[in-house]
């Protein structure tokens, strides 16, 4: 009994100590909040794309003395929370950042579902929400509903259409035939993409010879690849998530599925993809892409590696950083922490960012990359809306034996 009392007291003490601990607050800082997954199913993606850029941006701003406001330069104080890939937690985190921590601005959360789930609160509390990792066909409906949300990576339809366009171009050039094998992960985004792609493929004159889904978290994807191979396709398209992007590519290699056009969706642009498949990554198509050879991006990639110790990915990393730059430039241009004025400024002006100029049109930036391809050591954008510098597409060579 006595021991138990000690334990309870210890537990209570721990809680009390935690309560008493409050971070030191200086008046001459700007408080920026961030909530994204550090654990849970989406943590892997956020750890590649979101968190390193949050850190890099705060580091960049603070190392040049902070944000320049009318009443002097202020450094950023970052307050970050883990939403554990739970929407309820994400909503609570945004509320806490706004009402308890009283932060001046909040960086947008990670993932389509989380962007939409937190949009009403961002709106109600009047914080601008510069979403990056969110791809949806509801952009017009959402921007009409919420006058403070901004999108940068386009819609599901453009996402699938550009893949089909690329393949159609290859077909018209006589590089590939019309037989497409298409697979998708059976989760919200994968299902949405596959259902959107089906009619577009048919309209472009393709024949879908293999069309199957596989469950999220499958341990063995070799039957999928064997089935796709048996259908004798000219092109392979997978609307896939990070773990299966790796597994499908590995199995395609084992089973010697040789097609001239091989597309896997999310995570193809991750540096880990090149790290795993090395020379075999050559010619593989994937979601995203950028023009990594512009001076601004070259410098960004170098700084990303130096500051965070990790390589940036070739898709949303730079865009995420760009969204922070937009916020930064808007705050400095307005010169105060007036969120309404900053939101209005973002709507009306063009910004110079690492990915080039960004201007929102009806809260949606219409210039983005859609399809990329591994060529040499980099993942180059081969298809874009409104961004110059698309590389010519190459045929995927056979797997190295």
């Amino acid at each position: 009994m006595f021991r138990r009392t000690i334990l309870s007291t210890a537990a209570a003490g721990l809680v009390a100590a935690a309560l008493a601990f409050q971070p030191a607050q200086a008046a001459d800082t700007i408080k920026i909040g961030a909530s994204a997954p550090k654990t849970g199913p989406l943590a892997g993606g956020a750890a590649t794309t979101q968190w390193p850029n949050v850190r890099l941006w705060v580091h960049d701003v603070n190392s040049r003395g902070g944000l320049k406001l009318k009443d002097g330069q202020k450094k950023i104080e970052l307050i970050e929370y883990d939403d554990r890939t739970t929407p309820g937690e994400a909503i609570k985190n945004i509320q806490r950042l706004a009402t308890q921590d009283k932060v001046d601005f909040i960086l947008a959360p990670f993932g389509t579902g989380f962007t939409i789930a937190t949009a009403p609160i961002f709106n109600k509390l009047g914080y601008p929400q510069l979403a990056v990792s969110a791809i949806t066909d509801k952009i017009p409906a959402l921007t009409k509903r919420y006058d403070n949300i901004f999108f940068m990576l386009g819609s599901t339809t453009t996402f699938t259409n550009s893949v089909v366009d690329i393949l159609k171009k290859m077909k018209d050039d006589g590089k590939i035939g019309k037989r497409v094998a298409m697979v998708n992960v059976a989760d919200a985004f994968g299902i949405e993409l596959a259902n959107a792609a089906r009619p577009v493929f048919k309209k472009a004159g393709f024949e879908i010879v293999y069309d199957k889904s596989y469950p999220l978290g499958s341990q063995d994807l070799s039957p999928v690849i064997k089935g796709a191979k048996a259908s004798n396709p000219d092109a392979f398209v997978a609307w896939s998530y990070p773990p299966d992007t790796f597994a499908l590519t590995a199995q395609a290699k084992i089973n010697d599925l040789n097609v001239k056009a091989f597309y896997t969706a999310v995570a193809t642009a991750y540096p880990a993809f090149k790290g795993k498949f090395k020379a075999d990554a050559e010619g593989i198509l994937g979601a995203g892409g950028i023009d990594p050879d512009t001076p601004a991006l070259k410098e960004y990639f170098k700084r990303h590696k130096e500051v965070t110790g990790k390589d940036a990915d070739y898709w949303a990393s730079a865009v995420t950083y760009a969204s922070f730059q937009i916020l930064e430039q808007a705050i400095e241009a307005v010169g105060t922490l007036d969120r309404k004025a900053v939101t209005e400024y973002i709507k009306k002006n063009e910004f110079k960012t690492v990915i080039g100029p960004v201007k929102y049109d009806n809260q949606n930036s219409a210039r983005y990359w859609t399809v990329g391809q591994w060529q040499g050591n980099k993942f180059y954008g081969v298809s874009s809306r409104g961004r110059p510098g698309a590389k010519a597409i190459i045929e995927k060579p056979a797997w190295n034996k």
């Binding site: 809680v15 970050e80 883990d82 009402t99 939409i116 059976a186």
Partner: protein, 308 residues
């Protein structure tokens, strides 16, 4: 009604009335915590209605909750919201009855894993159906239902669950269930239809979980199967109910409230080590409070009485 019951009723009404005032304070932060607490209060209490007396640990909460979300996600463009809630309730009840009928032969740990498997099975079938039959639009629930509305609806559902639990406890059904929980063989020999008693309770708890999912769909706006059918949800419901004490109607709620508050505190104070610190808190709770918080309360109450 006895004097003690009148007193308990009065206390419950006051507590509910106080809880219902939270949205009026205007603090969105406390409201969001309130929604979390109300969600788990409803889920854990209804879970304990079935599992408390029968000692069957069900991990199917996530399955019912997910179905509720999908009903709203699929139907929101076609049908009015209250109709969807009704459909969700009917579907949940039907599924629970089916599962109840099928699992009567199972006991103990087999039932636990059966329900876990069931949740996954439903999730996979829903996904597959959506891929092969679905439209390209994805499941969006964009409505004007605000957070306070969701919160009040959850509180209302919670009140229904408590009334139901109270009524069951005093009815013949509750008595039968307690006997089953103590010794099923004895129950059978004393002429209790153990099967139908268990099914009724499972249906109640499944229906409530389904409706909870349906109520929360507008809060998420975008329905993903990995989130709607999260196995973590099923585990958390069990853990909070056990922490509070599943053998009393008021047990789960006194588990849920401190759990969510500590959870929130940990999230706020240890942003980089949230999971680690939560794990440690968890172990502390398990070792320090062996019979749930309800057990602790009862012990001190008994001791206080003994002192007079």
């Amino acid at each position: 009604m006895t004097g003690a019951e009148v007193r308990n009723f009065a206390v419950a009404i006051v507590l509910f009335a106080l809880a219902a005032l939270i949205p009026l304070t205007g603090s969105g932060y406390w409201l969001s915590i309130g929604v979390s607490i109300a969600t788990y209060m409803v889920l854990s209490t209804s879970w304990a209605l079935f599992s408390g007396p029968t000692h069957y640990i069900s991990l199917a909460t996530g399955a019912f909750y997910g179905i509720g979300m999908y009903v709203v996600g699929l139907g929101i463009e076609i049908l009015p919201y209250p109709v969807l809630l009704l459909i969700a309730a009917v579907l949940g009840a039907a599924l629970a009855a089916l599962v109840g009928l099928a699992t009567l032969r199972l006991s103990g740990v087999y039932f636990v894993i059966f329900t876990l498997g069931l949740a996954e099975l439903i999730r996979q079938l829903v996904n597959w159906g959506q891929t092969t039959q679905g439209s390209s639009s994805g499941l969006y629930v964009l409505t004007d239902i605000s957070e306070p509305m969701i919160y009040w609806q959850l509180l209302g559902l919670g009140a229904i669950v408590y009334l139901l639990g109270w009524w069951i406890n005093r009815s013949r059904l509750g008595f039968a269930l307690r006997i089953i929980g103590n010794d099923e063989v004895v129950a059978v020999h004393s002429g209790i239809n153990t099967a139908s008693a268990k099914i009724i309770l499972f249906v109640v708890s499944g229906t409530v979980a389904t409706v909870t999912g349906a109520l929360l769909a507008p809060r998420l706006s975008y329905i993903e199967s990995s989130i709607a059918f999260s196995p973590m949800l099923s585990f958390l419901v069990v853990i909070m109910a056990l922490l509070g004490g599943a053998h009393r109607l008021w047990g789960p709620i006194i588990g849920v409230v401190p759990f969510m508050l500590v959870w929130d505190l940990v999230t706020a104070k240890f942003p980089n080590q949230t999971t680690l610190v939560l794990g440690i808190c968890f172990l502390l709770i398990v070792y320090a409070i062996p019979h749930g918080l309800a057990g602790l309360v009862e012990k001190y109450r008994a001791r206080a009485r003994g002192a007079f």
